[in-house]
């Protein structure tokens, strides 16, 4: 067997209370696209952060091209030809593309020769099909373009081991397709490409070999040609996954939520929602598809009374609730599962009892005279913990000590136990392990069966296809189109997400 470009042996890394990596072995050879597959929390990013010098392993050895190395900073790793494209880009927004690429390389003399730098970038760009405008400022670029800049930056620094952390999370399906072509091109050029991901179809479409991690441990390295999605799921999750079956079709009932030409600004004061119109009915799940940052946050905040609409109207069960305070919207029977679970949806330093009553402490249910009735609150909490199978060190412990999946169960249990009329769920399963995802899908479908209207925002198209009755595509604060899931076509949704409307025209 040929020599590995990267070999990590018996890597162990501990964080307080967590064993992030335990004796992990990982081998990559030049010329391959190697997927590092695992659920969230499996230790993929930790392992790669060790490889690129951000963390130091507690135990284990790293060999680069057969030579044992020990990195004390990312600079050492860069010098060994390791480049990483992080999930959150590290670009200086007011700088041009060329300036950003030059930054962090040793290629600059005392006097900057930008012409030479730009020429070099253009060569790289042509070679791998990474289109960029060297003179554009970074803030003018789309997310996809910024990602290309990050990739060129690592190549410019001479990386021949390229690591990408969940690169498709911010891309439309078409952009992802293009990225994969580039990655394969880079691999063919004799470089090693490592792709961190938890998405199985990505792995199957781009990787040559796949290493699976589970709970911080190495599970297997397999060749794509000799495996299939079914086997990979088993390796990743550790057991067979039952399919969540969508409940039988319902005829949706009356309109629960209606938005009419809503306009709203984002935190910076720029338009985030533009003439947004949408309705959600009883017994209906509407999935909002769209690349993150296209108005999703503002949409949910406007509905829940946490952000003012500049114009337009919002009706909940026929009642005009535009710009009403959050309290009234809660009282109208709206449940909200926010993106920021711990901090907004749950109070980290307060215990389960305190968190259970966050939405209902005003109501008579938990009051005895002017006082909170802690014994009935405890009773309720105990029954919810049991019903939703929430693992907790105790009802009196601060919730911040709980794991992500169980936090979301707690949040969901609180939001649905009062039989809401409308549920606004934002990335309800992001970052959760498979069994928690399954459970949460199950709860949402059960709520739909009970008659709730559900507006679900997800970055995972598979999730939307699985749960939703209707899909609305959001692009730059507008609805690009809505369609029943049964008639939806992935390609078309991808185009709509990129702002190309059905006639093939770019929206502006």
């Amino acid at each position: 067997m040929e020599q590995a470009t990267v070999e990590m042996r018996n890597i162990t890394k501990r964080f307080p209370g967590v064993l992030a990596n335990e004796r992990v072995n990982f081998k990559v050879t030049a010329g391959e696209v190697h997927a590092l597959l695992g659920e969230n929390g499996a230790g993929k990013t930790t392992l790669m952060s060790i490889l690129c010098g951000l963390y130091r392993a507690d135990e284990g050895e790293i060999f680069i091209k057969g030579k044992k190395v020990s990195f004390s900073s990312p600079r050492d790793a860069i010098n060994m030809g390791i480049g990483m494209v992080h999930q959150h880009f590290r670009l200086v927004r007011p700088f041009t593309v060329a300036e950003n690429i030059l930054l962090g390389s040793n290629d600059a003399g005392f006097i900057l020769d930008m012409d030479r730098v730009e020429k070099k970038i253009e060569n790289l760009s042509k070679k791998y099909g990474l289109k960029v405008d060297t003179k554009a400022k970074v803030w003018q670029l789309s997310i996809g373009e910024q990602q290309r800049v990050e990739i060129i930056k690592t190549l410019y620094q001479g990386a021949d081991i390229l690591i990408l952390d969940e690169p498709t999370a911010v891309l439309t399906p078409q952009e992802a397709e293009e990225l994969f072509k580039v990655l394969q091109q880079i691999a063919q050029d004799g470089k090693a490409v490592i792709l961190i991901t938890h998405k199985l179809n990505e792995v199957m479409s781009v990787a040559d070999r796949i290493t699976v991690l589970r709970n911080g441990k190495f599970v297997a390295t397999v060749e794509k040609k000799k495996t299939n999605i079914h086997e990979l799921t088993k390796l990743m999750v550790g057991r067979e996954m039952p399919e969540v079956k969508k409940a039988e079709d319902f005829s949706p009932g009356g309109v629960v939520l209606e938005l009419k030409n809503v306009n709203a600004l984002n935190d910076k004061g720029y338009p985030a929602l533009r003439n947004f119109s949408l309705s959600v009915h009883e017994r209906e799940i509407v999935g909002i598809a769209g690349v993150a940052g296209n108005g999703q946050r503002e949409l949910t905040e406007v509905i829940n009374g946490l952000r003012l609409a500049e114009s337009g109207e919002i009706f909940i069960l026929g009642k005009n609730m535009t710009n009403r305070p959050a309290q009234e919207i809660i009282d109208a029977g709206v449940a909200f599962i926010p993106e920021d679970r711990l901090g907004m949806g749950l109070v980290p330093n307060l215990n389960i009892l305190d968190n259970i009553i966050l939405k209902s402490y005003r109501k008579g249910l938990f009051l005895k005279g002017p006082f909170l009735d802690w014994s009935s609150i405890r009773e309720k909490a105990e029954s919810l913990v049991k019903e939703f199978d929430i693992k907790t060190p105790g009802l009196n412990h601060p919730v911040k000590t709980m794991s992500g999946g169980h936090l979301q169960r707690l949040l969901l249990s609180r939001e649905v136990h009062s039989s809401p009329k409308l549920i606004v769920a934002v990335y309800p399963t992001r970052g959760l392990d498979v069994s928690a995802v399954e459970f949460i899908h199950h709860v949402l479908l059960a709520q739909r069966a009970k008659g709730a209207a559900i507006l679900m925002i997800s970055e995972d198209l598979d999730e939307i296809f699985k749960l939703a009755d209707r899909i609305a595509v959001l692009y730059e604060g507008k609805v690009m189109g809505t369609m029943p899931v049964k008639e939806a076509d992935l390609r078309e949704i991808g185009l709509l997400m990129a702002g190309v409307d059905r006639g093939g025209e770019m929206a502006c």
Binding site: T12, R14, F15, P16, G17, D58, E59, N304, G305, L306, P325, A326, Q327, E328, I329, I330, F336, P338, D340, G343, M344, G345, L346, V347, P348, N349, L350, D354, I357, L358, K359, Y361, R362, L367, P370, F371, L372, W374, H397, P398, K400, T401
Partner: protein, 362 residues
């Protein structure tokens, strides 16, 4: 986790805990006091005194006699009331450092009642002075509260600045319009009528203010743990975005909390003039409002703990006054206070870490 040193097979390792128990906090507090005393000993030694003798003398002065205990209780009253106010505001992350000024305004308002309505019968007089004292402090903190709630003005700066206004306002009154003509230009007002004095425990200077303090502590504790409004305060203090999400009216609560916070400090001022001094004068507070911040922080903003910590700090004050009589510099009290705070903050940080000696790979 941090490996501090490595031997062949075993390593010493720090592990971080997310929470610390009340018991370990108590241990931290005791150790901190001992360490602070050790630091204080150095300074006492530099001043050519025997630290052990000085500490013994300080302890005896504050606890060793009926008079000492009475003085300790008397000085704990303003610390307790103002400390409760500070603790409430800090609970909601409102950094009200204006308790000193609020004490002065409470004292001013209570004095106004005693001076302008001297004929009120005792019960009504005390009630009116209580309300006035509370209102004086409350208005003084409500103004920064409104500015913070409505316009986002930083309350640290406004409450601090308001201290100077309040202190100078009282100075103006006692030197000028309210100055006692019989005092030959001393900065004091005339003596209050007897009806305006808080009753004292026979044979001591301990006055009814101790009752205000204890009741306020218990009420505040119950409000925070058992009422809807207290719940709102706790949620808002922990996470403002969660509070908004829950539909809590944060603007209103900021103003309400600031109002009550200042009101409690105002009561401290009222208790000082009506319970101890019997008149308004210059320097009615030797920095009770600032010490109250330390009290609140060391009590971890728990109202019941504020009661205990205020006794600790008042005994320091009383002991410090006594130490001055034998020539120890007055600064020793501030030194000890500061050192205790320093060690508690450091100790609390360290209590979050557990040092373990483990085999590699464990």
């Amino acid at each position: 986790m941090l490996s501090v040193f490595e031997k062949k097979k075993r390593i010493l390792r720090f592990e971080r805990k997310l929470t610390i128990s009340p018991l370990s906090y108590l241990i931290v507090l005791v150790i901190s006091i001992l360490l602070a005393l050790a630091v204080g000993a150095i300074f006492i030694r530099i001043n050519s005194f025997n630290p052990l003798e000085v500490y013994q003398f300080m302890f005896e002065s504050s606890f060793g006699s009926a008079y000492g205990i009475s003085e300790t209780v008397v000085k704990a009253i303003p610390l307790m009331l103002a400390g409760l106010g500070v603790a409430l505001a800090f609970r909601m992350l409102l950094w009200n450092i204006g308790a000193e000024g609020q004490i002065y305004m409470g004292a001013f308002a209570a004095t106004a009642i005693a001076l302008y309505l001297p004929r009120l019968p005792a019960g009504i007089m005390i009630t009116a002075m209580l309300l006035a004292g509370f209102a004086g402090g409350a208005i003084w903190s409500l103004i920064p509260g409104i500015m913070r709630a409505r316009a986002g003005v930083n309350e640290i700066i406004t409450t601090l600045m308001f201290n100077y206004i309040a202190i100078l306002w009282v100075n103006y009154l006692v030197f000028g319009p309210w100055s006692d003509p019989a005092s030959f230009n001393q900065p004091i007002t005339p003596k209050f009528p007897v009806s305006a004095m808080l009753p004292t425990l026979p044979g001591s200077r301990i006055h009814l203010g101790i009752f205000f303090g204890l009741v306020a502590a218990i009420v505040l504790y119950l409000v925070l743990t058992h009422t809807r409004w207290g719940y709102e305060v706790r949620v808002t203090g922990e996470s403002e975005s969660a509070a908004k999400y829950a539909g809590i009216n944060i603007t209103r609560n900021i103003m309400l909390v600031m109002l009550i916070s200042g009101g409690l400090a105002g009561l401290a001022g009222m208790a000082e003039v009506a319970g101890v001094l019997g008149r308004l004068q210059q320097n009615i507070s030797p920095g009770y409002g600032y010490t109250a911040i330390l009290v609140a922080i060391l009590a971890k903003l728990n109202p019941l703990a504020v009661v205990i910590v205020s006794f600790l700090f008042s005994s320091l004050l009383v002991g410090g006054y006594a130490a001055q009589t034998i020539g120890v510099p007055a600064a020793i009290v501030s030194t000890l206070q500061g050192a205790i705070l320093f060690f508690v903050l450091a100790g609390e940080f360290m209590a979050r870490f557990r040092l373990r000696y483990v085999r590699r790979g464990d």
